[in-house]
Symmetry: none
């Protein structure tokens, strides 16, 4: 089993929970923790330079920024930076994210070894994931394979989320169009935005924009 693991997770309680699992349930002796991406990277570098590298990185995706200035604001950047230095390190992502395409992207693009979704059964999943990754397997979360139940979920891509957020902030379609153009995000015509939002109406069975925002707020998507 792994003997030296780094845990990057900004929520302290979750951090402690992971450590407890690794320690008590799996029996990993050396576990280091970090509350910030930068901090995690420093600990990783130190261990690497001292010829006692970590064998496994368990990281969250989103880190809240408080007072500390962070050069790495997301777990993805951390993963990329770590992999650049130590290609053979195993990486498990532990995150709230449950959008299949997002999770698949992590496996495809960032070559992570495992993913555990924050949730009710996270302990069992985490244990299985660590063991699977130790045996050189790629461990997908049950949420991803059990698409039967969760397939009812509406597929939302990044643009959908952006539109929902902008609408929730009270911007008009015209303002959103201009914003998208400025950020070079396509499609950005008012017509395409209309089409997108109309599709969201259908997906969420919303009568109008206000209703739509209320629904996604209730679902916790925004």
């Amino acid at each position: 089993m792994f003997t030296k693991v780094l845990v990057a997770e900004d929520y302290e309680i979750a951090n402690q929970g992971i450590i407890r699992i690794l320690n008590d349930e799996i029996g990993i002796a050396t576990i280091h923790e970090a509350k910030y991406c930068d901090d995690a990277y420093l600990k990783f570098r130190k261990a690497y330079n001292e010829q006692q590298p970590f064998q496994l990185l368990i990281t969250d995706l989103s880190f809240r920024e408080d007072h500390k200035v962070q050069t790495r604001t997301s777990g993805i950047e951390l993963i990329e930076d770590v992999r650049k230095t130590q290609t053979d390190i195993k990486v498990i992502v532990y995150s709230q994210e449950n959008r299949p395409d997002k999770i698949n992207m992590l496996f495809d693009k960032h070559k992570i070894d495992g993913y555990v979704c924050k949730g009710q059964n996270a302990v069992k999943e985490l244990i299985a994931c660590v063991e699977g990754v130790y045996n050189n397997n790629t461990v997908f979360p049950p949420e991803l394979t059990n698409t039967s139940a969760d397939n009812l979920m509406v597929h939302l891509d990044d643009l959908d989320i952006i539109l929902l957020e902008e609408l929730a902030q009270g911007y008009t379609k015209k303002e959103i169009r201009i914003k998208l153009k400025k950020q070079k995000i396509t499609p950005n015509s008012e017509s395409s935005i209309d089409k997108r939002v109309s599709r969201l109406f259908d997906d969420f069975k919303a009568k109008n924009t206000t209703h739509l925002v209320a629904i996604v707020k209730d679902l916790g998507i925004l």
Copy 2:
């Protein structure tokens, strides 16, 4: 210090984290955990009936049930049911919720003894909270005391709430007018509704109806 504590939290990792803190940092011997509200209540009843009651309940507010978010009162219901049976039990809520009015409501209406906000510094806060509650203090979260100044309240009467709810459900002003007339609620002219909603725009600094609903959803008013 407390010797017997019940932890109700559906996220297993967070659950484990809390237990670790209580165990390793505070030195509480007997800690029971529950992933569901009902389960927590059963464990509580059993201990109470066996004359070995819990001295402290640490609970989340929202519990997921079968993948579906049940954001409403489940944690609150647990607190109420527990208090009905054992009035002297101490209650600490550990939740993501950071809306001042919501948290204040817990102290005012449900007489909780402490609140810890899920976050980066939750460990220190949790330890301080448990110790404070043990000393019969009421422990407010730092988030609450810091933002107490900008906690400006807008007075909303019944009609305001009705209008907000109808708008959030996607009804047009015309539909709302007809509904109000049918229920003999005055004022019910479209003009009056316009005026009301415009005043709400000012109160909440909203750009339009969609923005307004998003804001009040975030504030937990709806």
